[in-house]
C-alpha cells in the first residue's frame, strides 16, 4: 500500500501543474453548470410538485390589473362575468398576524395563511408597480399552496380548527402539516380599496367559489392597512387587482384576452399561465437564446480540459513507463493513475461544494449572478456527469491519437 501511494504521489507530482489546472477548471465548470442547472431543476421540480398536487392547470395568475377604486366592483364583476372564469380570489393577501386585520369567525370560506417560504418568495417576488402603495421591504413574505382536496379553507372552518396545509418545501417537495386556523379573512378586509365595504359580503362571494389557490404574497404596508382600517380617506387612490383566477379548464389565454380591455393606463393583463409554467417557459427561452454561447463556452472549456488532461496523461506516460521498468505491475499502475485522476475530479467537486456553501451562507448570494440562480447540491449531478464525460473524452482522444505511448502499455499495447 505504501508503494501504491508513493506511485500516486509520483504521478501527481509529475503532472502537478496540469492537475491543479484541471481541478480549478473543473470547479469553475461545476459551479457554472450547477448555477444554471440549479435554477432549472428548481423550476421543474416546482412545476412537477404542482402537477402532483393537481393544481398546475387550475391556478392562473394575472399581473396587476389596475383600476380606480370606484371601478373595482365593475372590474371584479367583469372578470367573473368572463366566460370561463368561475372564481376569483381578490387580493391574495393573507396574514398570520391578526394585528393587521379584524378576523371574522363565521365566514364559511376564505383564504388563510401561512407558510413562510423565503426561497419561493425570492424566486417569485411580488410583481407590483411603483406607486401602488406596497412596500416590499416592510412586510414578511409568505406563500401558501393548497390543493383541491383542501378546498382552500373548507366550508364551515372556524377559527381554532386544525386543518392540514399542503405546502411546497424548500427542497421542492409537497408536504403537509397541521395548522391551527388563526383566522378566516374576508377579501375586502384584505384589500380595503376594493369595495370600501366592511361586511365581508363581497369576500364571501368571491372566496367561496375558489376551490384551490396558490397565494403569492403581495405585501401591503402596515401603514396602508392601518390606514384602511383607520381613516378611509387615506386609502390609496388606486388598487392593484392582483388576482388568481380559477377557470373551468378553458384556455386562460382567451380569458386574459377578454380581460385585457379592463386594464387601465396601458397596464395590460399578462398572458395567463401558471407562474411556474411561465417561468419555466422563460427559462427555456433564455436557455435557447443563450444556447450558441453556451455551446461555445462548453466546447471551449471541454477542449481546454481535454488538452490539459491529454498533456498530463503524456506526462503520466513517462512516469508510467518509469514505474513499470522499475517493477510496478500494470494493475498497480493503472489503479494509481485512475485514483489520481479520480482524486482530482473529487477535489474539484469538493471545492465546488465548498464554494457553493460559502456563497449560500454569505451575502454573496445577493449578487445578481447568484440570486438569479439556485445553488443546490443536487444540481451538481449534471456537473459531475460533465466532468466524467470530459475525462472520458480526454482519455479517448489520448488513446485514439495513438500518442498515449506508455499509457497504452497498461493495456498490453506498449511499444512500437
Amino acid at each position: 500500500m505504501k508503494k501504491f501511494f508513493k506511485l500516486c504521489s509520483d504521478f501527481a507530482g509529475s503532472a502537478a501543474l496540469y492537475i491543479v489546472f484541471i481541478t480549478l477548471i473543473c470547479a469553475v465548470i461545476f459551479c457554472a453548470v450547477t448555477l444554471v442547472c440549479g435554477k432549472y431543476i428548481y423550476i421543474s421540480d416546482c412545476y412537477d410538485a404542482l402537477a402532483d398536487a393537481g393544481v398546475e392547470n387550475d391556478i392562473y395568475f394575472t399581473k396587476t390589473m389596475r383600476s380606480r377604486a370606484d371601478d373595482e366592483p365593475q372590474l371584479r364583476d367583469a372578470i367573473l362575468g368572463t366566460d370561463g372564469v368561475i372564481g376569483v380570489v381578490a387580493h391574495p393577501y393573507t396574514v398570520n398576524n391578526n394585528s393587521y386585520v379584524n378576523w371574522t369567525e363565521d365566514f364559511d370560506a376564505g383564504a388563510s395563511l401561512m407558510r413562510y417560504d423565503r426561497e419561493l418568495y425570492e424566486m417569485f417576488p411580488p410583481e407590483l408597480l411603483d406607486g401602488d402603495g406596497f412596500d416590499y421591504s416592510s412586510s414578511e413574505p409568505e406563500c401558501i399552496i393548497t390543493d383541491k382536496s383542501m378546498k382552500c379553507v373548507p366550508r364551515g372552518t372556524r377559527v381554532g380548527d386544525t386543518i392540514e396545509i399542503k405546502y411546497l418545501t424548500s427542497d421542492r417537495q409537497i408536504r403537509t402539516f397541521p395548522i391551527k386556523v388563526a383566522g378566516i379573512a374576508a377579501a375586502n378586509r384584505f384589500y380595503p380599496t376594493m369595495t370600501g365595504g366592511g361586511d365581508g359580503s363581497d369576500a364571501t362571494f368571491v372566496m367561496s367559489q375558489v376551490d384551490s389557490l396558490i397565494i403569492k404574497y403581495s405585501p401591503l404596508t402596515k401603514d396602508a392597512i392601518d390606514g384602511a382600517f383607520g381613516d378611509p380617506a387615506s386609502l390609496p387612490r388606486y388598487g392593484v387587482y392582483c388576482a388568481f383566477i380559477k377557470t373551468d379548464g378553458r384556455q386562460i389565454d382567451g380569458i386574459m384576452e377578454a380581460l385585457a380591455p379592463l386594464s387601465e393606463g396601458g397596464r395590460s393583463v399578462v398572458t395567463g399561465k401558471t407562474i411556474l409554467e411561465q417561468t419555466k417557459a422563460d427559462m427555456d427561452d433564455t436557455i435557447r437564446s443563450y444556447l450558441p454561447a453556451a455551446l461555445f463556452s462548453a466546447v471551449f472549456f471541454i477542449t481546454t480540459i481535454v488538452c490539459l488532461v491529454t498533456l498530463s496523461v503524456h506526462r503520466f506516460a513517462d512516469t508510467i513507463t518509469l514505474w513499470r521498468i522499475a517493477g510496478a505491475s500494470r494493475k498497480t499502475t493503472f489503479c494509481a493513475v485512475t485514483l489520481t485522476f479520480a482524486a482530482s475530479i473529487a477535489a474539484a467537486l469538493l471545492l465546488t461544494y465548498i464554494l457553493m456553501q460559502i456563497v449560500i451562507g454569505t451575502e454573496l448570494s445577493a449578487l445578481p449572478i447568484f440570486s438569479e440562480c439556485i445553488l443546490t447540491p443536487s444540481a451538481m449531478l449534471p456537473a459531475s456527469a460533465l466532468g466524467i464525460f470530459t475525462i472520458a473524452a480526454a482519455a479517448a482522444i489520448t488513446f485514439i491519437s495513438g500518442r498515449g505511448g506508455s499509457l497504452r502499455g497498461l493495456f498490453g499495447k506498449y511499444g512500437d
Binding site: D318, T319, L322, A326
Partner: protein
Amino acid sequence: MAFIDIHGLCKSYPVGKGRFSALKNVDLTVERGEMLAITGRSGSGKTTLLNVIGTLDTFDAGTYFYDGRDVGKMSDGEKAALRASEIGFVHQDFLLMNHRTAAQNVAMPLYFGKTPYAKFGARVEEALTAAGVPEQAKKRISDMSGGQKQRVAIARALAISPSLIIADEPTGALDRTTSDEIMDLLVELNEKDGITVIIVTHDPEVAARCRRAVKISDGEIEV
C-alpha cells in the same frame, strides 16, 4: 539453455482494420555476461524486441525463456517482480522524475524489490558511485546535464544489482564525448561485474563497442 533464449517470437499490433507485424519469427539467444547490440532502422522492431525481452510487452507466438524461466507463462505480477529484481533499464530519454533528486530516482526500483528500507541509502550510494556521479545524489534531475542524467539512469538500473541491463539508444540524446563515457561505463559494468547488457542502437560506433551485434530489419533478425 542460454540466459536469454527466444525462438519463433512474433508480435503484431492492430493498425486500422489490419495488423502490423513488428516481430516475425525472431530467434535470439544471449549468454550470461554477454554484451549484445541490436541494430536496425527506425521502425524495424528493435525497441519492440527490447520491450519483450524486458517483459514490458507481451508477444503473440513463440517462446521466451529468461534464465530458464518461461516468460510466456508468467503473470503480469511475476514479470513485474522479475523486472524489479533482475532487469535494469536505460532509456534514450532517461525516464527520470525531473522534480526529484538523483538519489530519489535511483531508489525508486528498490520500492518494488525486497531490499529493506533501511538499506536504501547504502544501495543508492553504491549505485551512484558505480555510475560515477556520487556527488549528484541530492541534485534535482532538472538541474543536470544530459550525461549526468544518463549516469543517474544507469545508477537506477544498478540499484537492484541486475543480471541484465537493457539500454534503448542510451547515447541517442548525448554528444559524442558523453556517449563514449556512457559506453565506457556500460562496457565496464559488463566486463567488471559480469552484467549482461543488451543495447538497441542505430549508431555503428556504439554497436562496435559491443562484443556481438545483430541486425533487425522489418521485424526479422538478419543472419
